[in-house]
């Protein structure tokens, strides 16, 4: 059979968000792969420099629906660093707990999606049922299942009350036990192994060269975790292992994530034990002094980097966001090359992509000539009026 151009997206059932992937296939084998991103560019960075620091908090929360807490936390960390503010200790512990809650919910969500991608619907149903436990806990603590709006400049919005702590402990014990069960399934269920073992292989060296982060990097045997390498909040006080795997494939990434769920449960329990009494937030100045700061945290998908520059007013001059998906995309293309068509969805899903988070710019290209052009605001408004 001749080589066939095989498009995936912008609309495709395996993709939850619009993105265009182009594959060159020879029979069932993928010869080459390329990606076009920019379909969900929302111009968040630009909007950040149009609004004040408090409004940006809400904007950053909406960079991603899954790692919403990680983004606000990272943004607050950067702004607080510029302002030179030290937030109350109890607030730091609560931020850590929220951070780990979000890791649990995100990794469980990913495990379900991975099951769906390889046609293992039952895994999807079971994992998402168990995920409801952590969703309920998140709702109890913050009032929301999705965008928690828990982090604020100068601390956190709500305290964790003593009666919540027992419920959280029960939930965590249940989730820990379920995570162990899923780790067992991942290593013993034959069809699951057939579809994940040796699939989407990318070596640790390539990962480092291509700048991969998070579970993708760790599953290729590189022990890099921002929580351990550059501790923030109180991460230097809790004990947790940096989970790595030498398998370099989808199975390795699955195991790393499932084990991180177990670790996250343990970290939360430690936090609940070590959390001191006290205030959970403080007054934060409306105007932030001139300066700039970079903050990095280990979100569930990998390292998120925020760069914020202030010019002394209440509006930041520049907010730059680097999401883990963007860092992992080059590695994901390497994963699918030389593999089977059937492995494309699971190999791509194994980086836990979030394309809307990754889209930072969009370039308008003429399809036939390849020329790029710029559209002004007025032109865009005109276009939208004509189309609607």
């Amino acid at each position: 059979m001749a080589k066939l151009d095989f498009p995936v997206g912008p609309q495709h059932p395996a993709l939850k968000e619009p993105e265009n992937l182009r594959f060159s296939v020879d029979g069932e084998l993928v010869v080459d792969a390329d990606i076009r991103i920019g379909y969900v560019h929302r111009s968040i960075e630009r909007s950040c420099s149009e609004r004040n620091f408090v409004q940006d908090l809400y904007l950053c929360e909406r960079v991603c629906g899954i790692c919403s807490n990680a983004h606000t936390q990272n943004y607050c960390q950067a702004v607080e660093a510029i302002a030179g503010v030290e937030i109350p200790e109890r607030a730091q512990w609560i931020r850590m707990i929220m951070h780990e809650f979000e890791r649990i919910h995100s990794h469980l969500l990913w495990l379900g999606v991975a099951g769906h991608e390889i046609g293992f619907e039952s895994l999807f149903m079971y994992v998402w049922r168990d995920r409801e436990v952590i969703q309920d806990i998140l709702e109890m603590v913050s009032g929301n299942r999705g965008h928690y709006a828990m982090t604020m400049l100068g601390g956190v919005r709500y305290d964790i009350a003593p009666e919540m702590v027992t419920k959280i402990r029960e939930g965590l014990a249940f989730l820990r036990q379920r995570a162990e069960y899923y780790a067992d399934i991942a290593t013993s269920e034959q069809t699951f192994l057939e579809r994940t073992s040796g699939v989407g292989v990318v070596s640790g060296e390539t990962c480092v060269q291509l700048g991969a982060v998070g579970p993708v990097l760790r599953a290729s045997g590189v022990a890099f975790d921002v929580r351990r390498t550059f501790p923030y909040l109180q991460y230097d006080k809790v004990e947790f292992p940096v989970r790595t795997s030498e398998l370099c494939d989808v199975l390795g990434r699955t195991l790393v994530r499932v084990q991180e769920v177990i670790d996250a449960c343990d970290i939360c329990t430690q936090c609940l034990d070590m959390m001191p009494e006290g205030d959970v937030n403080m007054r934060f100045p409306r105007k932030v002094p001139e300066g700039e700061a970079v903050a990095r945290i280990e979100a569930q998908r990998g390292e998120v980097i925020y760069y914020v520059r202030s010019n002394g007013t209440d509006v930041p001059e520049r907010v730059k966001i680097r999401t883990p998906t963007l860092a992992n995309l080059p590695a994901s293309l390497e994963m699918v090359k030389g593999g089977y068509i059937a492995d494309i969805p699971i190999a791509f899903a194994s980086i836990d992509p979030c394309f809307s988070c990754a889209d930072r710019m969009v370039e308008l290209n003429d399809v036939s000539s390849g020329d790029s052009r710029t559209m002004t605001w007025a032109e865009l408004v005109k276009l939208s009026r004509r189309k609607s």
């Binding site: 066939l4 151009d5 069932e28 099951g115 046609g119 619907e121 049922r129 068509i341």
Partner: protein
């Protein structure tokens, strides 16, 4: 009457209407069972019927670049093949609506028609997903068809006939051929999953990879026809396995000889329906418990782990008979 009886067999029972009604019911059973296994509520009884009516009402689109004739005819051929094969499979007594020496071979070939039609329909729709799905249909066919045929040879040899009705009649004393050909039975059941393109062998359809493979360009009533073809094939192929291995309508303790003909027919149909639903239960179980494997893994695994046991069982039957 002599003209009406064959027409009744083709259009009402065990043909067209019966296959659609029972096929939709079996699909509801399947969906409900899988839902229960996955901790969901599952659809109401009316759901498969509602889905069918909705599809029939939808717009029918033929892609511009497709070969119109092949694209339009493929689902009809598939459905016609399945309905035709139903006439030779015993549905209410050991005797099918029609039978002759060699109808086993005919039925096996007629049941292969949907796969070929699916390949042609997908290939001529010229969509890249459909093209890849179509080649997968054929690759998969080589994986399950040979073991399925070898497995059906087991009861044929044990019953000493090429007619399904005679093979079923030979089990009327209670000596089901599942005892003589247990390996063949297991092979036939697993090959059936491949034939019906269900998890873990739903590779040609693979919705997260190639959307729905060869069916991707089909809409409206033609898509409904595809769905119906596979539902009807589920019934006919399950009935075939029940007739070959599980004694067809026979069950111990039911005195078919003492009943009037209409009652014997009704009881026989009910017994067979239960057996078909048990096979559907097995299909649901595998769908809930397993993940979809890759086409290369499927073909390799099927030829090795289905082909060889089927041959071994054939050898045992031939050795014990001589």
């Amino acid at each position: 009457m002599q003209v009406l009886t064959p027409l009744f067999h083709v259009f009402v029972f065990p043909g067209f209407l019966f296959l659609i009604a029972f096929g939709l019911f079996a699909s509801w059973v399947d969906r409900k069972l899988v839902a229960k296994m996955q901790n969901r509520v599952g659809p109401p009884l009316i759901q498969p019927f509602a889905d069918l009516i909705k599809l029939l009402a939808k717009e029918d689109i033929i892609p511009e670049s497709a070969n119109r004739a092949m694209f339009a005819v493929a689902p009809l051929v598939a459905f016609a093949g399945v309905v035709a094969s139903a006439i030779y499979v015993p549905m209410w007594s050991a005797q099918a609506a029609n039978s002759f020496q060699g109808d086993l071979i005919v039925v096996i070939y007629l049941l292969t028609l949907p796969a070929f039609a699916l390949f042609l329909g997908g290939w001529y729709s010229t969509n890249p997903f459909a093209t890849i799905g179509a080649t997968r249909v054929l690759s998969q066919l080589f994986g399950y068809e040979v073991p399925f045929f070898l497995a059906c040879l087991g009861p044929a040899l044990a019953g000493g006939s090429w007619s399904i009705s005679e093979i079923t009649a030979a089990q009327a004393d209670g000596g089901w051929f599942i005892a003589a050909a247990p390996l063949s039975f297991i092979v036939a059941m697993i090959a059936l999953i491949g034939k019906l393109e269900r998890v873990p062998f739903d590779i040609p359809q693979a919705k997260t990879e190639i959307v729905s493979g060869p069916e991707v360009e089909y809409t409206g009533k033609r898509l409904a026809l595809w769905k119906l073809s596979f539902l009807a094939e589920t019934i006919v192929a399950s009935a075939l396995i029940a007739a070959l291995f599980l004694g067809g309508p026979h069950f111990w303790g039911i005195p078919f000889g003492d009943m009037p003909a209409w009652l014997a027919g009704l009881v026989g149909l009910i017994v067979l329906a239960v057996k078909i639903l048990l096979i559907v239960f097995f299909l649901s179980l595998t769908r809930a418990a397993l993940a979809r494997i890759r086409i290369d893994q499927m073909v390799e695994w099927c030829l090795l782990w289905l082909g060889i046991p089927a041959l071994v069982n054939l050898g045992i039957i031939i050795f014990t008979m001589s």
